[in-house]
Subunit: 456 residues, 2 copies
């Protein structure tokens, strides 16, 4: 067994990426040492910016030779310390891998580099009259590599599935230093072995460094219709789920609460979107070509008196509805350090979770402020707690304990990172964790890729 030799590694990397792409200035490094929540703060001796898969491979081979650990990083929009050098690792900044391949129109696919931002991918697809199915608030910063590595979800999972459903093929540099290319030609059906793209998707940089991906595109966005639909309680909104999900053309189904929307109204200095504001508000978005107004009307009629208020918008006014949803994380961040628990629940436990979560948090942090919202259609809620100090794990721990009691998942999006390793192990059980460790050992035998993430 070799000892790590960081100096030898660092003295070799300039020969790979050039001096301008070895960043050691403390102020520059600082931006890579902390994640979006500011709750996870690490240290890195250097940030390396490879410009090609060949350079990534050369760096991983050097890292392996010198037993130096690497943390792959894209837009650094994670929330669970999954791309933070908490153990003093070297950061691999992959944003220079920003190739946008030509859109294959007949196949409805494109191959793009790991460093391409979600917005750049969406714009590229739109320029060919198509659309990329995943969308989320961090679109201008989050990169394809990070989206793939965390199996990102976002706003349209209810219609198109999460990243894994978009990723047909992947190129990655394994922990062994080998480059694997699997189905980069984008075959819709390829059953020649275990699903390597699907395995690398969601592996959080612990098995390989994703360098590019072949993704499916969906038809260009048709006419849209949005609605805010008010319910007397979260329970009533959950009970409406089967009807809401049946809405033709449904592509978003978000939950917001009156208590949180009042914070948004104060933050933006505007009146609440419905008067009086119902306790639970669902944001629905439908996409054509069918008669959207008629479809929405049929949904509202089927729900009958369960709907206590509603507002409809299309065209330019649709952004006004989304502003309420998108401002929620901004409001939380404006209040202070945000403790994030991004969790999912069985449909049957969603209302019980929402009813209990604030009491649970207050037991640990009496003066905290809690915001709860999320992707109702996927059983995925974002719990945001503001008030406790950055180092206080109490509130998130309390939320995750409640999630496990109710049969949910401690990570719906963003993955396990370093923050949720023990929680994820409890959730999945010993056999599954042993399986994960065996797979990790098989593909990254020296454990140099993102150590401490996913399986610890």
């Amino acid at each position: 067994v070799l000892e790590p030799d960081l100096p030898a590694f660092l003295s070799s990397v300039e020969g790979v990426v050039g001096a301008t792409h070895v960043l050691t200035d403390p102020e520059v490094r600082a931006g890579h040492e902390t994640d979006w929540t500011r709750r996870f703060v690490g240290r890195t001796p250097a940030v390396l910016r490879p410009g090609s898969v060949g350079e990534v491979q050369a760096l991983v081979l050097l890292a392996r030779r010198h037993q130096v650990s690497l943390v792959p990083q894209g837009g650094n929009t994670g929330l669970v310390g999954g791309a933070t050098p908490l153990g003093g690792e070297v950061v691999l900044d992959l944003r220079r891998l920003d190739d946008l391949g030509p859109v294959d129109g007949p196949a409805g696919q494109v191959t793009v580099g790991a460093g391409v931002t979600l917005t750049a991918l969406q714009d590229h697809a739109a320029s060919a009259g198509l659309s990329f199915a995943v969308d989320l608030g961090a679109r201008d910063t989050a990169t394809v590599g990070g989206l793939v590595a965390t199996n990102a979800g976002g706003l349209h999972v209810v219609r198109f599935g999460s990243m894994r459903a978009q990723v047909l093929g992947v190129e990655a540099v394994l922990g062994t230093g080998e480059v694997v290319r699997s189905n980069l030609t984008g075959l819709v059906k390829d059953n020649t072995g275990y699903d390597l793209p699907g395995l690398l998707c969601g592996s959080e940089g612990t098995l390989g460094v994703i360098t590019s991906a072949r993704v499916r595109l969906v038809p260009g966005v048709g006419p849209l219709l949005g609605a805010l639909v008010g319910f007397a309680s979260v329970t009533a909104a959950v009970e409406a789920l089967p009807v809401l999900r049946s809405a033709p053309g449904l592509r978003a189904l978000e939950l917001m609460r009156a208590v949180d929307l009042r914070l948004v109204a104060g933050h933006l200095g505007i009146e609440p979107p419905l008067t009086p504001l119902p306790p639970a508000v669902v944001l629905l978005e439908l996409e054509g070509p069918n008669d959207l107004v008629g479809a929405l009307g049929a949904v509202l009629e089927a729900l009958g008196p369960a709907v206590v208020a509603s507002a409809v918008a299309d065209g330019d006014r649709l952004a006004g509805l989304w502003r309420w949803r998108e401002a929620l994380p901004e409001v939380a961040a404006a209040l202070g350090i945000v403790h994030k628990a991004d969790v999912s629940l069985p449909v049957g436990a969603l209302a019980a979770f929402e009813a209990a979560v604030e009491t649970t948090i207050r037991a640990h942090s009496p003066s905290s402020t809690t915001l709860v919202y999320g992707h109702l259609g996927d059983g995925n809620l974002h719990v945001n707690v503001v008030g406790p100090g950055a180092a206080d794990d109490g509130p998130v721990d309390a939320v995750l304990e409640l999630v496990l009691e109710l049969g949910g998942s401690v990570s719906a999006e963003h993955g396990v990172g370093r923050a949720k390793v023990a929680w994820a192990a409890r959730q999945r059980g010993e056999v599954a964790t042993t399986m994960l460790r065996a797979i990790k050992q098989a593909l990254d035998p020296d454990g140099i890729l993102n150590p401490g993430v996913v399986v610890g």
Copy 2:
């Protein structure tokens, strides 16, 4: 390293499953020793029929202790020797694992045993007003375990994806004898580690014996409209793909050729479905709630003169259209031993493949008959060759060589089995094959599960 001790293993298994579930009668065994094609014929000392996951676990632990290899088998409808005891393995017949869990209506999910047939699952879903998304010709025999293990595709992939898109959670007995249960509560979003259900799906019994699965259900089938749409050539049909795929409610998009439909007409003793019969016929199926006649009309109008003939059917007459498609494999089987190549091609290479495939086969087998049809929407063609002797690998090899030249996959459905190990290795390349071997070694360290399958 232990030596295999089959007698010790066999003397212990009665204690697990009972004497009535240890089948050694040669005539009974024979049904488990040959696959559907009759091209792969093995031998087994015994067929074991466990009745619970506990019994499967006990058998795998015994097999591991005595170093005896096992071949998991469901409905035995495979085509590539993936469930055939070619090395004299013991067969695990999993059809007694036929539990149908209660349908979870609000979640739209159900947990079922590996031995449940596709028809039984479909009927069970229908009894709750829902539907299971995968359908294929072998529905009365194929089991959930086999569908999961081979990541089965079928007729509705263009709408709902293949099995992997349906499977939310899996229970399996690994090669270590451990039972893994991953997301059997069916959370839509669970990002607590590598995708174990997705990894086991498509692993062909080489990593674990699948004992049950949590699958998503889709809304009950709405009104259907079918059409046969004739084109002047396969090339013209492929060029129409973007328009055909855009049809609202599309749920099937199958390709048939005049030359093969004439064989069907002769076999069934009926007139061809279109007069004159165009060289390429696409079977479209659309599902409501929208105006299907209008939607189909818009598609045909958009295609303009590319459509040289068409016939539309709904209600009871729809089965008449499907009869043409479903009779194709029956006709092939009636002609003799069928050499099957179930392959996929990039969209841009489909027409070139179809144009070259018969010439390629005739170079090896001049007097053979070739049928080509399949799931056009997925780039997936079924090549059936009749004429060459059962042991003659020439025709399939010729087809697979052509597939690799054109950038396709040698296995679109049915997996790698034992028949395509070398071909799959060529297609995926050395690095990916090394990855697969490492994963296999990690989860089945003694190599007792389906040896020789997937990675050889």
